[in-house]
Symmetry: C2
Subunit: 356 residues, 2 copies
Amino acid sequence: MTALKNDRFLRALMRQPVDVTPVWMMRQAGRYLPEYRQTRSRAGDFMGLCTNPELACEVTLQPLERYPLDAAILFSDILTIPDAMGLGLYFEEGEGPRFRKPLRTEADISALEVIDPKHELSYVIDAVTTIRRELNGRVPLIGFSGSPWTLATYMIEGGSSRDFARSKTMLYEQPELMHQLLDVLARSVIAYLNAQIAAGAQAVQIFDTWGGSLSHGAYREFSLSYMRNIVAGLTKESEGRPVPVILFTKGGGQWLESIADSGCDGIGLDWTTDISLARQRVGQKVALQGNMDPAILRASPQRIRQEVAAILRQYGEGEGHIFNLGHGITPDISPEKAGVFVDAVHEYSATYHRKT
Amino acid sequence: MTALKNDRFLRALMRQPVDVTPVWMMRQAGRYLPEYRQTRSRAGDFMGLCTNPELACEVTLQPLERYPLDAAILFSDILTIPDAMGLGLYFEEGEGPRFRKPLRTEADISALEVIDPKHELSYVIDAVTTIRRELNGRVPLIGFSGSPWTLATYMIEGGSSRDFARSKTMLYEQPELMHQLLDVLARSVIAYLNAQIAAGAQAVQIFDTWGGSLSHGAYREFSLSYMRNIVAGLTKESEGRPVPVILFTKGGGQWLESIADSGCDGIGLDWTTDISLARQRVGQKVALQGNMDPAILRASPQRIRQEVAAILRQYGEGEGHIFNLGHGITPDISPEKAGVFVDAVHEYSATYHRKT
């Protein structure tokens, strides 16, 4: 493989010195970009885009053509694993993801088998290979998966949910059955992420979008413990470098100490967490990724730059910070504003890093 | 006024000794009760129920007939103030609250005036008077209001929102205009709650349902600071007793220290906060109210009792705990399960309190 020309992102994740704070954006390959919408319309629909490695590669690289981002992230969906398990993922416009065959009975759960990503998810693995080739060492490639708890909620509810009524009823009333489901998902995520790493992913992020809906006790038992199992089961090194793991539990700001104990290398923060307090709490142990409110990208360039400067000041001097939004960039943001954000991170952060 | 026969709730809020931990449920007068649904159908619709003091009194008292609750809470809606300001509140089945005339321009905001609750919201004040008379001293009556920030989001968005796009754009792009709106709302909330207290409310709770959507900095500037102004502006004593104030910011568990500094007497906790850690952080300063996940009421009686016991154990010995759910009880819960919850709090908590 080609040598990496920009390794700021990987270095910051390992809390090594960098010249400026690295930056990427969750959902950076997305609907706010006209070129993305154009490729997506050629693909037919969202799943058509996900399952076509050439087109998935194309949209993965689009934001890198516009902005000096320090990482690429595989274009895919967090729900590919349940889809590979036979639940039938589809998207209704404006409605979010849905499953044709949600889990309704104990027999549905017992019938689930650990996926073999080389077979059922070869389109994702092929996309990783293609993207690495096309990236040609510009920046590292991040692989990703949904967390077992987050996947389980979609599989049980059949789609998005406001209060997770079915999932929580199962969690509280049939905890053993929930553990059985989470276990088969965790083993599938390990196989999936290891296949992404083998194909060229240089770091991985686990998206625990709905972990924040749980109590602290339930979070530790039903979400974090499975992410810990995944971290322990992942390939530790590839191409002579460590493969760092980022855990992102949206709404998990109260539980950073528990998350930092999982063995992960970095924690993704949403914007509700004060990053200076987060660094005091866990910054000796892990890198921190985040955490500007994506809503600020609707404001003026001046206001965006002001907020970037404030977050850099809050994190302070030294290593271990990867700048990002606290959640995915939304479709209504203008591409120019995203550029203001990325440039501001590089421009304002140099002063916080010693000459290397 | 009649002497109070059960003052556990007020004593616990002032961190005074009690025999058992007091308990009430957010939305205890609500759709999970068949008698509520019956009264509501007589009223025509939800606003018909809110604006009829006799019927509002009837539903307020219904849960007290079923369960040995330690407080009643005024039946009303958090959006009565914007309705009184002329925005035209209505409810669409399954859609939540809506406004006919949401705030769209600076002129809309400049035109807003501080409400006079004795005129525009006399139906609420009459309901408080009626409920106090009918309660006849059984338990204290809690008055309430939405927080300025939470009211502002509904007024700007026109209803519920997923990401508060308009509100946050105003907050970041026109902070002075947002402050102007929040100021007129805060002054209205003070007048409204003081009128409720004058009519007989013995404690008040401010519901900051959407404060948790903000960053810590924005929360302090745009939500908490106005709740602090309200606390400072409220009548401190009535009928020879202090009138305690509870602040409930859903999703505010990371900011308890800031909230405890507001001058409030109690903090409402949602279920994501570990109540033992919360007590360590702020329990010397304020009482804590909460915080069982309402989803647990879908589980078995045994599981409900187990969770109540766990939360009581986490809070530990001594005063300052008011048991509640971490959010409102949902319409799908069976009334029997709510009864199991209330009884378990009284049964299991005696051991944590010294003989008084």
